[in-house]
Every structure is written in structure tokens, then in C-alpha cells.
């Protein structure tokens, strides 16, 4: 066997092992979590809000709702800001500025989430408590922090989508007498739409899966939120908060929470893949 062939084999096995670990993780989450869902019944698990795992109540509805609300909140902040940033960088900034700003934005993705959470607790939470009321640790705080955290994802994938639009389209549009803004709005954005939607969905996935920052700023209360100032607990927070001590059914219930999260993330990622493929 030649040297090239050998290297090829090694690389193939390395690639396989990363897929293998993903498969193992999936397998174990289901192995550990399914018994509880079978025990309590899917309906009582996802349609009840009564979570008292040491007393035999395993309803995660409030957390599913909270996860969705926090993520939507993050989208409301992150998508317009991210899109505006991406359009400015891709279409309206000189090359030099872009070369400085894009890596800077990507640096934002490298900041550990605990740092975002800490800044949230120190600055954002007291501001909310003093000026808007409530305990400060809230749905709003979680959404704002997550909205900032998804910016790098949304911006860099959107920029890639925008720059992938052929220059010919822009030249054609401008030759027809359209202004630059009209060109961006009517030609470039529609042409890049599937890439931009992918950016938004991947940002959503990041928001749903984020844990540490949310635990620190969202308050983790188990009640269904009645306002944006109410504290909430997301699915990820639930797992990370209670994992340390959980045993028996309680532990299974946390893995089962992981299954629900897994399904949500899978749906998001699959739809991102499908939308990209349609291009």
C-alpha cells in the first residue's frame, strides 16, 4: 500500500471517529433518557409544568416555552442588528474597513459564554431591576445577552452569503439605473436569501443551546413566564443546574430534557441544511 493510500486511510478513520463520538453521544442520551419518558408518558413530560424531580413530578413544559421565548427574544435583537451589520460590511464598506471589522466581529464568538453571563449579571441585570422592575434576572436579560452572543454567527454567515452573489447582478442592476440601496434590497438580498435564512437558523441553534450565560442572567424560576421581566428556566439551564446531584429518575429526567433539546436542535439544523441545498 502506497504512502498516499495510507494517509488517506488514517484520515478516513479520524473522520469516522468524530462521527462515531456523535453517534455515541446520541445513543447514550436516548439510552439514559428514554426510560423516564416511557415511565411518565410523553404527554405528562412535555405538557405539564410541574417540575419537582425529587418528588416524582417531571413536567418540562415551562422550560420548553421559556427556551422558545428566550430564543425568539434573542432573534428580535440579533437578526436585525446582525443583518444590518452584514449588509453594511458586505455592500457599503471599503475593503480596508471590512478587513478590520470582520475579524473583530468573529472575535466576539471566541469570548467564553461565562464572560457574557458575568457582564450580564454585573451590568444588565441591575439596570433592568432599577429601571424596569422585577428581580432583573429575567427573560429580557437572557434574550438581550443571547441576542448579542448570536451576532457573530448571524453576521459572518450572512456576509458569506452576500459576497457569494455574483458581481454581475449588481452591475446589471446599477446599469438599469437602480441606486445602490435599491440594488441591495431588490437584487442582492433576494439572491442571498437562502444563505441569510441559514445564518438565522444557525444563530437560533446557538441561542437554544447556550447554557452558562443564560443560567447566570435568566433567574431559573420554574414558573411559566407572565412578562418579559419574569425569571425563566431554559432546557439547557435545567440540565446544567441540577445535574450535579441528580440520581435515579431525576438523572433520567435530565437526560430526557436533553432528548427534547436534541430534537429541537436537530430540527433547526436539518432545516438549515435543507434551505442551503435548495439554492
Amino acid at each position: 500500500m502506497g504512502r498516499g493510500k495510507f494517509v488517506e486511510r488514517v484520515l478516513f478513520f479520524l473522520a469516522l471517529s468524530s462521527i462515531g463520538s456523535l453517534a455515541l453521544i446520541t445513543f447514550f442520551i436516548f439510552l439514559e433518557g428514554l426510560p423516564l419518558i416511557l415511565h411518565t408518558g410523553l404527554k405528562d413530560f412535555v405538557a405539564s409544568s410541574h417540575w419537582a424531580p425529587t418528588k416524582g413530578h417531571f413536567g418540562i413544559l415551562a422550560m420548553i416555552v421559556s427556551s422558545i421565548l428566550v430564543t425568539l427574544g434573542a432573534m428580535v435583537l440579533g437578526v436585525p442588528l446582525g443583518l444590518a451589520g452584514a449588509i453594511t460590511l458586505a455592500e457599503f464598506s471599503p475593503e480596508r474597513l471590512k478587513r478590520i471589522l470582520k475579524p473583530t466581529l468573529e472575535l466576539l464568538a471566541g469570548i467564553p459564554s461565562v464572560v457574557y453571563g458575568f457582564l450580564g449579571v454585573i451590568w444588565l441585570v441591575p439596570l433592568i431591576r432599577i429601571y424596569l422592575g422585577g428581580p432583573g434576572l429575567s427573560l429580557l436579560a437572557g434574550s438581550l445577552i443571547l441576542g448579542i452572543m448570536i451576532l457573530p454567527t448571524v453576521i459572518s454567515i450572512s456576509i458569506d452569503a452576500l459576497t457569494a452573489v455574483p458581481q454581475l447582478y449588481r452591475e446589471g442592476s446599477i446599469a438599469l439605473g437602480a441606486t445602490r440601496w435599491q440594488t441591495v434590497r431588490r437584487v442582492v438580498l433576494p439572491a442571498a436569501s437562502s444563505g441569510i435564512i441559514t445564518a438565522i437558523i444557525l444563530g437560533m441553534g446557538r441561542a437554544v443551546g447556550e447554557t452558562m450565560a443564560v443560567i447566570m442572567v435568566a433567574g431559573n424560576a420554574l414558573k411559566l413566564p407572565t412578562s418579559v421581566l419574569a425569571p425563566v428556566r431554559t432546557l439547557t439551564s435545567n440540565i446544567a443546574l441540577e445535574l450535579g446531584y441528580a440520581a435515579g429518575r431525576h438523572r433520567e429526567a435530565l437526560f430526557a430534557t436533553g432528548i427534547v433539546l436534541f430534537v429541537i436542535i436537530m430540527i433547526l439544523n436539518l432545516s438549515a441544511t435543507l434551505i442551503t441545498r435548495r439554492r
Binding site: 419537582a52 443560567i215 441540577e242 450535579g244
Partner: protein, 264 residues
């Protein structure tokens, strides 16, 4: 990223493994995360005095520690709760008392709470400071996460089989409960009495403050014991470590860390 990290952590959760070490004697202490920082401190000092000893202190929670001891996976278990009847075949060695202090912001005029009112607060029946005779404002209640030893102790001493309201904020350590109460004038939470500092105010329960003396005499109601648990009368290194913990230097070390010693 958060999800993947969490899942790997889930998958990696293991049991309690006796430590491999080059030292002549080694000892594994596992259990309560409330006891852990104190046990680590004791182990650190003990190892300084006995360089041939190696003591591994692991967390995992009271129940996990007790389970590990009963199946021989570690030498000593650490528990911040009492043994249940099914665990009574194990030997319990009380090492210290810990009070659970109910804390509010220093600017809060509240100085005393009746135990019934404390229960009414945490069941969600009292939600406004007005009900306690203070200026009206909603109360920001803070509790610990399900499974925490401090929460378990609080529930058994205060809640009388009732559940803590789902409206309460949940934090996963004594430290973050204290941090929130220190910053929020309308909040109320509970933490280990040893960790109360000047930034928060501990209120009296039924007129009795969580002072060292009141905890020692049990005049203060919310007192729990920290236990070491062994399978049988410990011998060898385990016995020597237990003797150290119960000796005057060991006990004063615990007192210096904020607990209340068992022996004078």
C-alpha cells in the same frame, strides 16, 4: 457549543474512583458539595503534616457519597443531610454544625421572621413585603436548585412537606444567592450561616439569631449536621484522618471556615 459541552459532561459523569497514587497511603473522601470545601481544607492541612498521606476529596452530592461508601468505592463519605433508615447500617461521624441563615439586603428593615411566615414565603402565600408590615413591594425569593443539600435541609426544617413555589428564582450555589441578595433590596434567600458576610443581613427566626452559640445549642431552629460516613469503625489512615478532624486543631479549622464545631 453549550449543548455539546453539557452533553459531554453528562456522558462523562462517572462514579467515585479510588485514587491512584505514588504515596504510601491514600484515602478517598466523596460526597456532599456543601462539605467539600471544608473537607478539602482539612485534607490540605492534614497532608501538609503527613506528607506520606494522599487524600482525594470528591464532590457528587451527599447521596452519591453515602452510596459510594456503602459499596466500598471510597473510604469516607461526606454528607450534609441525616442518614435515612435504609442507610443506618453505616457509621456516622458528626463533624460540625451548620446553620442555614435567611438573608435579606442590609437596607431591609426586617429583623425577625416567624417560622410560619418563612414557610408562607416559600410556598408562595406571601408575595409582598406589605404582608410582613414593610413598605409594599413584591418579594424576590431565591432558592437553591433541586437536589442541593442546603435546599434539602431547608425543606425538611421549614417546608413541612410543602413544595417551594415555582415562582422563586433558582441559583446553584450559596455564593450566587448571596450575590443577588447583596444587590437587590427586595430579595430574600437562604445560605449556609458560615457564609453570611457584611453585604447581607441574616434575620432572626422566631426571635433567635443564627449566631454561633445559638447554632451550637440548637436554640436557632435551622441547624443541620455535617457528617462523615464510614462502612465500619474506620481503621488505619481513615481513622487517623477522622481523629484529626475531631481533634482541637481540626475543629478550630472548621470554626475558622465558618462552621460550628462539635467538640470543644
Amino acid at each position: 457549543m453549550g449543548l455539546v459541552g453539557g452533553l459531554i459532561f453528562l456522558a462523562a459523569l462517572g462514579g467515585c474512583q479510588p485514587g491512584k497514587t505514588g504515596a504510601q497511603h491514600s484515602l478517598v473522601v466523596a460526597g456532599s458539595t456543601s462539605v467539600q470545601p471544608f473537607a478539602e481544607k482539612l485534607a490540605e492541612i492534614y497532608m501538609q503534616q503527613h506528607p506520606q498521606m494522599r487524600i482525594d476529596v470528591q464532590g457528587g452530592g451527599s447521596s452519591a457519597g453515602i452510596y459510594a461508601v456503602s459499596n466500598g468505592a471510597c473510604d469516607l463519605g461526606a454528607s450534609s443531610r441525616e442518614l435515612v433508615p435504609a442507610e443506618k447500617h453505616l457509621l456516622e461521624i458528626p463533624i460540625a454544625y451548620d446553620g442555614i441563615a435567611v438573608i435579606v439586603h442590609p437596607s431591609n428593615p426586617l429583623t425577625n421572621l416567624r417560622l410560619e411566615d418563612l414557610r408562607a414565603l416559600f410556598t408562595g402565600k406571601i408575595t409582598d413585603w406589605r404582608s410582613l408590615g414593610l413598605p409594599p413591594h413584591s418579594i424576590h425569593l431565591i432558592t437553591r436548585e433541586e437536589g442541593s443539600g442546603t435546599r434539602e435541609a431547608f425543606e425538611s426544617m421549614v417546608m413541612a412537606q410543602q413544595e417551594i413555589t415555582p415562582a422563586a428564582l433558582v441559583q446553584d450555589s450559596n455564593g450566587s444567592v448571596r450575590e443577588i441578595v447583596a444587590g437587590d433590596p427586595h430579595s430574600l434567600g437562604y445560605i449556609s450561616a458560615g457564609l453570611v458576610d457584611h453585604r447581607v443581613k441574616a434575620v432572626a427566626i422566631d426571635g433567635i439569631t443564627p449566631s454561633r452559640d445559638n447554632i451550637k445549642t440548637h436554640a436557632y431552629k435551622l441547624v443541620r449536621r455535617f457528617l462523615l460516613v464510614a462502612r465500619m469503625t474506620p481503621g488505619g489512615p481513615a481513622k487517623e484522618f477522622v481523629d484529626f478532624v475531631l481533634s482541637a486543631p481540626g475543629q478550630s479549622l472548621l470554626e475558622a471556615e465558618g462552621l460550628v464545631g462539635m467538640v470543644e
